[in-house]
Symmetry: C2
């Protein structure tokens, strides 16, 4: 890996997401050599990925080059690599570009989609966990309309224009809202020769008895009302059992004919080989309150991939940005304490609330002590997402894109960048 030796202990961070970058930033001016490994050369802002998929934002406005984060740091290294395994016995991380020894290793590899073992659904569904995946969703979405123009068979057209979103969490709900806005404002103008209003359907399939089931009941109710008004059909208490690329089947015998199924029904920890014994049922790595992986003092996990069981969080913290950021921050302090032989501090999650937007002017916000929805919630949603983006340029371009999209009722990134007629599942 070509990392020089140092008098300072080496911290290897695997993953440049919210957790990894938070830890990296907090280690500034501390006596560590830091090596960050990621298979991408950029950090991406996952909460806005669905807007890339629906042509509202350009991919690079929600990404930030990791090397730019490194520029003013001493003893900080980035390597673009794929981690193959952690060898805890020899204290080394094995990657596809070589091996690196660590004093401390931090697993911040986030989460991946959970298909609960259904390989057929996995093979045929679209996902939005990475930038290339979101761009593919965008291309397939737009290609569906182009293909629908090529037939007079209404059933075929309906199958092409039936967008089935599996999973009614924030990602599914926000995606459904964004698609519904396009159905109102963009597609009828772009495809005057298609009866968009009647042909295009948005079906949201949710396993629980309400959407946004991790939020308050008030917020779920408001979100469902918003979705209904936008023409999204919400199916609650329904689980998808199969999807062959043409037809979605559910546990209660319903059938949805669709060429585009987007899966957002669940995530699981994106673990690393070498720690099998410590992984729980959700593929998360079990850690103690100091984020130390069970049985180790020098191996840590933070963020989505870490399962820190506690009183209030029986199966670990919610898999979202805030726990990752907060754990990264505390871990920087604890690593210093370890070096100084001080007692470690226990992590205590400060729940700052959660929120989701459902189209134009509409959002739901849960704060620890209050819930609200509507236009003000929507402004709060935008403000929080804007200030959370890394980089002044990204903030400015996202803000400008939102203002433009709002007033012009448009989505100008509706461009199909993948090569002509790539088969849908490639």
């Amino acid at each position: 890996m070509n990392i020089p030796d140092s008098v300072n202990p080496r911290v290897v961070i695997i993953g440049g997401g919210f957790g990894g970058l938070s830890l990296f930033n907090q280690l500034k001016n501390k006596a560590f050599q830091v090596v960050l490994i990621d298979k991408h050369n950029y950090h991406n802002f996952q909460p806005l990925m669905y807007q890339v998929a629906t042509s509202g934002l350009e991919a690079s406005s929600i990404t930030y080059p990791i090397r730019k984060v490194m520029q003013d740091r001493k003893e900080a290294y980035f390597r673009m690599a794929m981690v193959e395994k952690i060898d805890t016995e020899n204290k080394k991380v094995v990657t596809d570009v070589g091996t690196i020894y660590y004093d401390y290793v931090v697993i911040a590899t986030g989460s991946e989609n959970n298909f609960f073992g259904n390989a057929e659904v996995e093979k045929n569904s679209l996902v939005m966990k990475s930038i290339p995946q979101a761009l593919k969703v965008r291309s397939i979405l737009l290609e569906s309309f182009e293909l629908a123009l090529q037939t007079n068979d209404v059933e075929k057209q309906k199958t092409l224009l039936n967008f089935v979103i599996v999973g009614g969490g924030p990602t599914g709900v926000e995606l459904a809202g964004a698609l519904a806005e396009m159905k109102k404002a963009v597609f009828p103008k772009d495809y005057p020769d298609l009866d968009v209003i009647n042909l295009m359907q948005i079906n949201l399939i949710q396993g629980a008895d309400r959407v946004l089931d991790a939020m308050s009941e008030k917020s779920s109710e408001a979100a469902e009302k918003y979705l209904h008004n936008l023409g999204v059909v919400v199916h609650k208490n329904v689980r998808v059992t199969n999807y062959d690329g043409e037809m979605v089947e559910t546990h209660d015998g319903q059938k949805f004919y669709s060429k585009s199924v987007i899966w957002s029904a669940g995530v699981k920890g994106n673990t690393v080989d070498g720690l099998a014994e410590t992984v729980d049922r959700a593929s998360r790595i079990k850690v103690n309150p100091h984020n130390q992986v069970e049985g180790f003092s020098d191996v840590f996990a933070i963020g989505d991939v870490a399962a820190m069981y506690g009183e209030k969080y029986q199966y670990g913290h919610p898999m979202m940005a805030q726990p990752a950021i907060q754990q990264g921050k505390l871990l920087a302090e604890n690593l210093e304490r370890l070096e100084q032989n001080k007692a470690l501090k226990a992590f205590k999650y400060k729940d700052k609330g959660s929120m989701a937007t459902i189209g134009r002017n509409k959002a739901v916000v849960d704060l620890p002590k209050s819930h609200f929805h509507g236009v003000f919630a929507w402004f709060i949603w935008m403000f929080i997402h804007l200030i959370s983006l890394i980089g002044f340029k990204n903030k400015a371009i996202v803000l400008w894109s939102w203002i433009y999209n709002y007033f012009v009722f448009d989505r100008e990134s509706r461009v199909i960048f993948r090569p002509y007629r790539t088969p849908n599942r490639e």
Copy 2:
């Protein structure tokens, strides 16, 4: 193709580039049904493609959805399709999504890279004619630095970081300048553990005896001085004879070891099957002064793909935006004249000049009656490119990106979007 019949004659335009869109726009409010066919659903602004490749601009800020151009037009249709051939006998265009009959057909398919029959060079070189190609150049460029970090072998590092640009026309010169600016401002900060200044080389290989040989000698001279000051090594009177993916060979026995060769040494017409007899040596379709393809009154070619031989333009007009735009404009008028049985107007190219920028604060401009270079030329270059972009949003985002890049000395789109470790040539 599902295009309804019309009482008005049907004009089928193949290609949504500068020529095709110019014609399309000028046909507004004229008594024609217009069908535009392109294999992309967007128009792209080719002159700034090299800035996408060098991380200065995001792809979607130089593209514009074709359907948006159509929105306020009656009797205008867009079909995303690949044209297979033109059947002039039966007056139809055959595509991969069906056949369409025409009253008039206009070939505006532009140009493609010309490798002058060298298949080995074609296989191993990078090009920048389309958005996916430009994004690939960007990825490979950035990956080269990541890979150079993985070795201590200086020769290997030099091969990875030797960027060879073949062709000293505007594209090659502007690309060389942009790379040189990154070498100065971005890469040393991003890769402090690499000796970027000594390892990274930019070689520009030009077959003619000066760069920008279609411009004035004064401009060539200034451009060469700028390139020299930026550290670009210009090789004149040198022709590339082979490139196997590792080593470039030239006609005079020079060897350049490089993993990244970008080909901008020539273009040829991107013809359509069915008109073989009318194609000249540069694969351009021979047309009369009314842009009618030789031997036809209802088949036209405009822009790069059209060869209109004339006194001043012995082998046809220069393959750039202006002739295409002007021909499109005149053709709209001539189509109407044809319908009215009026005499057709002959095309007369109004040369508005040409220009190229070579990095920060520097450009060369040739106007019909004067030549100048320097900071003022650079402002002119930016102004002309900005106003030529389609769409207010694109203009705003490009302007903002330029201002930001200028003052922050940065290129924030240096993100590798293609999947991890895609082999270089895929």
